[in-house]
């Protein structure tokens, strides 16, 4: 409230002249070149508010135990807003955080825009050989390292064991099996087989990979979304919805998916480790053993789920670079990662963390580790994050019957070529 009162006085005094010099004095702390670290490190975390954020806040603030003169300011920014908010703040040069939790696809884009500090040779990157190769890939841009991997993830099929038993079915291994399993579940229990998110193209990727397709092929600089595999994949998802094997929504997909799965109204959903804590809170999963996780079903050509995760990056304009580097190192150390895994079942990015008992004991990690190892990597180019916006529009159009599969992927391909100048 003190902030509020000063601001009132400010407005009253300045009225509309607006010559305020209200820069955030807190973040102007300095750290001496070689001596003890001091000042404030502001960290924008994007973890789920209400469950994950409490754990990360506690761990982040414990940094002060190692560096008593450094104050950590933890700020939780909703994942959906974070990319935009960081862009706003970073380009204006004021009120940006020192450290941001950057989704893997954002990292090359932020780096390309010049918002991130290169970390090679700084305290942030310690034992960089220890990181899983897949996790480290997204942190590199033009031969420099711009971020440190914090968590890694992929997707699997979550299923309700009770409903499966009631219907007498096994986990589907292919999309065809998914359809027959769904039909059986519908016949035996009256429940819908699967929830398919229709408002986020990330949930479409495993079907695209299953048909042997991809959004783009960076090595040959080719747009591949509109090839035959892309068309096939769109037909597959459309067929899942039309045949009643899956239900979908064009809005509120996440919420509807979680609610219908947690209440036992659908038997399956495709999701990642970040959904585990929330899923356990549902009434069907009071007994945690009822939740089963299996690899995503294969398509006609292949099997695969996208690899995702989050990195920690340091803002290039940070006034407190040294403390920020140290903070990033602390947050990504094997000890911290093991602690996070224990509380939240998120997957570590360091090989050595997987040897820790807390990680070894974690069932979810046990399941997702092999999935992550075979997960499909996206090309880590600045445009990777931009590929979803055109795709999701067309994906939703296909699911709601507004566009034919071949036309939809063609439109998507056209916008990709506009975005990626000179690509085939």
């Amino acid at each position: 409230m003190r902030r509020g009162i000063t601001a009132t006085a400010l407005v009253a005094a300045l009225a509309l002249a607006a010559t305020a010099c209200g820069s955030d004095s807190e973040s102007e702390g300095t750290s001496k070149g070689s001596g003890e670290l001091s000042g404030t490190v502001t960290w924008w975390d994007t973890s789920t508010a209400g469950s994950e954020d409490k754990v990360f806040k506690k761990i982040a603030e414990d940094f002060t135990k190692q560096h008593p003169k450094v104050k950590v300011k933890y700020v939780n920014v909703p994942f959906g807003d974070a990319q935009n908010k960081f862009k706003n703040a970073a380009q204006s040069g004021s009120d940006a955080p020192d450290v941001i939790r950057s989704e893997v696809a954002w990292t090359p884009e932020f780096a390309d825009l010049g918002y991130l500090a290169p970390l090679d040779g700084t305290a942030a990157l310690k034992d960089s050989d220890d990181f899983l190769k897949q996790a480290a890939a997204s942190t590199k841009y033009k031969d420099k390292t711009y971020a440190v991997p914090q968590v890694i993830d992929s997707m699997g099929i979550f299923y309700n064991k009770k409903i499966f038993k009631e219907a007498g079915v096994e986990v589907p291994k292919t999309v065809d099996e998914l359809k027959t399993v769904s039909k059986k579940i519908k016949d035996k229990t009256g429940k819908t087989g699967m929830y398919l998110r229709g408002d986020d193209a990330y949930w479409f990727l495993s079907f695209l990979y299953g048909e042997g397709g991809d959004m783009v092929d960076a090595s040959s600089k080719t747009v591949t979304i509109d090839n035959a595999a892309g068309v096939k994949a769109m037909k597959v998802v459309k067929d899942l919805v039309d045949s009643g094997a899956a239900q979908t929504d064009a809005t509120d997909g996440w919420e509807n998916m979680q609610a219908s799965f947690k209440d036992g109204k659908v038997a399956m959903m495709i999701n990642g480790p970040w959904a585990v804590s929330d899923t356990y809170s549902g009434k069907e999963f009071k007994d945690k053993a009822n939740l089963g996780v299996a690899p995503v079903p294969a398509g006609s050509a292949a099997q695969g789920a996208p690899q995702g995760g989050h990195n920690l990056a340091v803002y290039a304009g940070s006034k407190n670079l040294d403390a920020s580097y140290a903070f990033v190192e602390y947050m990504t150390s094997a000890d911290t990662q093991a602690k996070v895994t224990k509380e939240l079942s998120l997957l570590p990015t360091r090989t050595s963390a997987y040897a820790k008992q807390d990680v070894v004991d974690n069932e979810i990690v046990g399941f997702f580790k092999p999935v992550v190892e075979t997960a499909v990597e996206r090309p880590w180019i600045p445009e990777t994050g931009s590929l979803f916006a055109p795709l999701v529009t067309e994906y939703t159009k296909v699911l709601t019957g507004q566009a034919a599969p071949d036309k939809a992927v063609k439109t998507t391909g056209d916008s990709y070529r506009k975005l990626l100048k000179g690509w085939k």
């Binding site: 509020g4 601001a7 607006a18 508010a49 909703p78 959906g80 908010k85 970040w274």
Partner: protein, 289 residues
């Protein structure tokens, strides 16, 4: 005045205020249906907020009525901080909005001065340009002035939304106040400011009430700027704070619905205070627009 046509007239003419029980019933029925449609969505949120969070998405009207969502909201979230921030921002916007719109409206209504037509058009054009496109440039201006994450930044931005309409409306309202009052003020030796302040403003209460209502509602319910400019749990306004409850990864209907109800209360209070003047104020303003 009260000479109603005698029943003897061949053609039956129904007078205003006189109608058959049947048409009375029809009118009441229409009003009741309309009122239910108007009130129901809001009422539904209220009912949902009184259900335990686990049943939030069920369609029973009542289920294990409880206040746990409210206690939860107030104890475990920064709701009160957001509430305070919003109150401060909306309050300042209202205060400044009323002063600025009234003085502008008065100047435009009473004085002939170079730039007046241009100003009137500007006020209209300002409402035409899609502000959504301006978020990034305005963000940079605010950053340049150090007003990001400060209530002042949002207050100034909201003034640009509410003042153009309010000034227009106030101009219409002042047009309805006889100029003789101004003239009598001048005869008494008051300056134009003095006339405005001491004679005209007290007469303009309905207009001011509408302006206040409009400014308050604008600032209280705005989302786009609030979520772009403010960051960090302590600085958020209600609009931004609520986004934390329903973001891409997880919706907490319990606190969300409870918060919605609590947010609606001050707005409803301001409305109650203003509604007496709303009809007269609006019409006078809008008539002359």
């Amino acid at each position: 005045m009260t000479t109603a046509p005698a029943p003897a007239t061949t053609r039956k003419v129904r007078l205003r205020g006189e109608r058959s029980p049947l048409s009375s019933a029809a009118l009441h029925l229409t009003l009741i249906v309309a009122s239910v449609i108007a009130v129901f969505p809001v009422l539904w949120v209220l009912l949902t907020s009184l259900k335990p969070a686990a049943y939030a998405t069920t369609t029973d009207f009542f289920k294990e009525t409880t206040f746990e969502n409210y206690t939860n909201l107030i104890q475990n979230t920064k709701f009160l901080t957001w509430f305070g921030n919003s109150l401060l921002i909306a309050g300042l916007t209202t205060l400044l909005g009323v002063i600025v719109s009234a003085s502008t409206g008065y100047a435009v209504s009473r004085f002939r001065f170079p730039g007046k037509r241009g100003l009137m058009w500007t006020l209209l054009v300002t409402q035409m340009f899609p502000v959504a496109v301006l978020i990034v440039p305005i963000y940079n201006i605010m950053a340049g002035m150090g007003l990001l994450n400060q209530p002042a930044g949002l207050v100034i931005t909201y003034l640009t939304i509410s003042v153009p309409f309010c000034a227009w409306m106030m101009k219409g309202f002042f047009d309805t106040i006889p100029r003789e009052i101004d003239e009598s003020g001048q005869v008494d030796g008051l300056t134009p400011f003095g006339t405005f302040w001491r004679l005209i403003l007290p007469l303009a209460k309905p207009g001011l009430a509408v302006t206040a209502f409009y400014s308050f509602i604008t600032a209280w319910g705005e989302v786009a700027y609030a979520s772009a400019f403010m960051v960090g749990e302590d600085n958020l306004t209600l609009a931004g704070g609520l986004q934390l409850f329903v973001n891409q990864y997880g919706a907490q209907w319990g606190p969300m619905t409870a918060a919605s109800v609590l947010i609606a209360i001050p707005a409803a209070l301001v409305f109650l205070f203003a509604q007496r003047h709303l009809v007269t104020g609006m019409s006078a303003g809008a008539v002359k627009g």
